[in-house]
């Protein structure tokens, strides 16, 4: 396991919610993680729309970035469930030597080759791997007033056949990290529900229906905010939800726990405001 990473920021975070990028950078620096932006990065060919248009384009695009990461011997770190699944499924698929050869045929025309040696981690994995003591040692602020409902998001859990780290039923990694950070976890996921973000641009009724199903459960749990490691779920909850339950991305809860101020990490950019619990208006 390599301890130095190429940070793959993806598309959604740097363009639409750069406040999550800011929080993530603060968190990685606070934990002393050796990270650098992945050179030559493009979109991961997200697993909902783009990838289903052209699956081979997805595989070669990710393989190109894995080849770049491999030359420096760094693993890839993502901040997004979509990016994580794109990379993880590609890593998994490319363990098949015949497929790897086919992909390398295209990569060779770019002067690149992937040998199959890169691993990918989500910020959630990284935090969980630090363990309770490892996470607690960085905590500088009491977050017990945060009553969080963990929402893992589909693409860190499913499909399990892609060798994902979290399990598909009753995931607990996110809740563990939230507790280690000192927040109060008020609900646990069973069969994890989808936020409906994948059809938001196609059918508002279906998307909103799915969103309300999952939010109503979190509202009933007494949560003061939803916690998710995924910026797509984050945006769906923050921008499209009717009930007004605020949401935090994992990087934000970590940054707050590690002592960053709400101003620094741009909590003011949330559409659904966190109010007094965050210490910001």
């Amino acid at each position: 396991m390599s301890d130095s990473y190429y940070l793959f920021k993806g598309c959604l975070i740097p363009t639409r919610v750069p406040n999550l990028e800011k929080a993530s950078l603060i968190v990685l620096d606070a934990m002393g993680v050796d990270h650098r932006p992945l050179p030559g990065a493009t979109c991961c060919v997200e697993p909902i729309g783009l990838r289903s248009m052209a699956a081979d384009t997805w595989l070669v695009t990710v393989a190109r970035m894995l080849a770049i990461a491999e030359t420096e011997g760094r693993d890839v770190l993502t901040l997004c469930n979509g990016c994580y699944l794109s990379f993880q499924e590609a890593c998994h698929a490319l363990q098949d030597p015949a497929l790897l050869e086919k992909v390398n045929l295209v990569l060779s025309s770019l002067g690149r080759e992937y040998r199959g040696g890169v691993k990918v981690r989500h910020l959630l994995d990284l935090a969980h791997e630090k363990g309770e003591e490892g996470v607690k040692s960085h905590v500088r602020r009491d977050l017990s007033a945060f009553k969080v409902a963990p929402h893992s998001g589909c693409h860190v859990l499913r499909p399990s056949k892609a060798g994902l780290r979290e399990r598909a039923y009753a995931p607990r990694m996110l809740g563990d990290v939230a507790r280690w950070l000192g927040s109060t976890v008020v609900s646990e996921e069973g069969w994890p529900e989808c936020c409906g973000g994948g059809v938001a641009s196609i059918d508002d009724g279906v998307s909103t229906g799915m969103l309300e199903d999952v939010c109503s459960v979190y509202r009933r749990s007494g949560a003061t905010c939803i916690l998710t490691p995924c910026p797509f779920c984050f945006s769906q909850f923050d921008l499209r939800q009717k009930g007004g339950l605020p949401v935090l991305h994992l990087s934000e809860l970590m940054a707050l726990a590690f002592g960053a101020t709400p101003e620094e990490i741009g909590l003011r950019y949330h559409r659904t405001k966190l109010g007094p619990i965050s210490g910001s208006p």
Partner: protein, 167 residues
């Protein structure tokens, strides 16, 4: 299932085909138990019906322009739940690929594809992006020429380069 991923490269024209090839027999295995339907959040709200879709695909009854193909949120619940390895979301994804080549991809995804090919990103680096990044003291987003050249070559060598896109 991975053997099939690059199969798209060889498909030249699929205009009138309504069936999904089933070389590994996943579709044939579906016994309509309905487990996938039970966990599908889209079906609950009038969207795609995965069990239904599997049988239609197997019987060549699904047209490539079927709107429900795009009402799948790709949450992978159906694939996780199915005990026979039919992997409905993978089959839906394959059928979307065929529908796309036949010119039936929704506009929003086409726009995303165009942006990806032009800038390397799936979301626009807009004026608001620049403003927010500046306020947060983050560096400016920039895509370098070499990356875009490599991306263009890669797109040309794969299926996305052959996808008909509306202007």
């Amino acid at each position: 299932m991975w053997q099939r991923l690059t199969e798209g490269v060889r498909i030249e024209s699929i205009g009138t085909e309504t069936n999904l090839p089933d070389p590994l027999g996943e579709l044939a295995r579906c016994h309509q138990c309905g487990q996938c339907a039970g966990v599908c959040p889209s079906q609950k709200h009038g969207g795609i019906k995965p069990a239904d879709t599997m049988v239609k695909l197997h019987l060549s009854l699904l047209q490539p322009n079927a709107p429900e193909l795009w009402l799948c949120a790709m949450c992978n619940s159906c694939t996780e739940r199915c005990q026979l390895g039919v992997s409905p979301s993978d089959r839906i994804q394959e059928m979307r690929g065929r529908a796309t080549l036949a010119g039936h991809c929704p506009k929003s995804f086409q726009e995303e594809a165009k942006l990806f090919m032009r800038t390397g990103l799936a979301f626009p680096n807009s004026g608001l992006t620049k403003k927010l990044r500046k306020e947060l003291d983050l560096d400016e987003l920039a895509s370098d020429a070499q990356t875009l050249n490599e991306l263009a070559a890669l797109v040309k060598a794969t299926t996305l380069g052959r996808v008909p896109l509306e202007r």
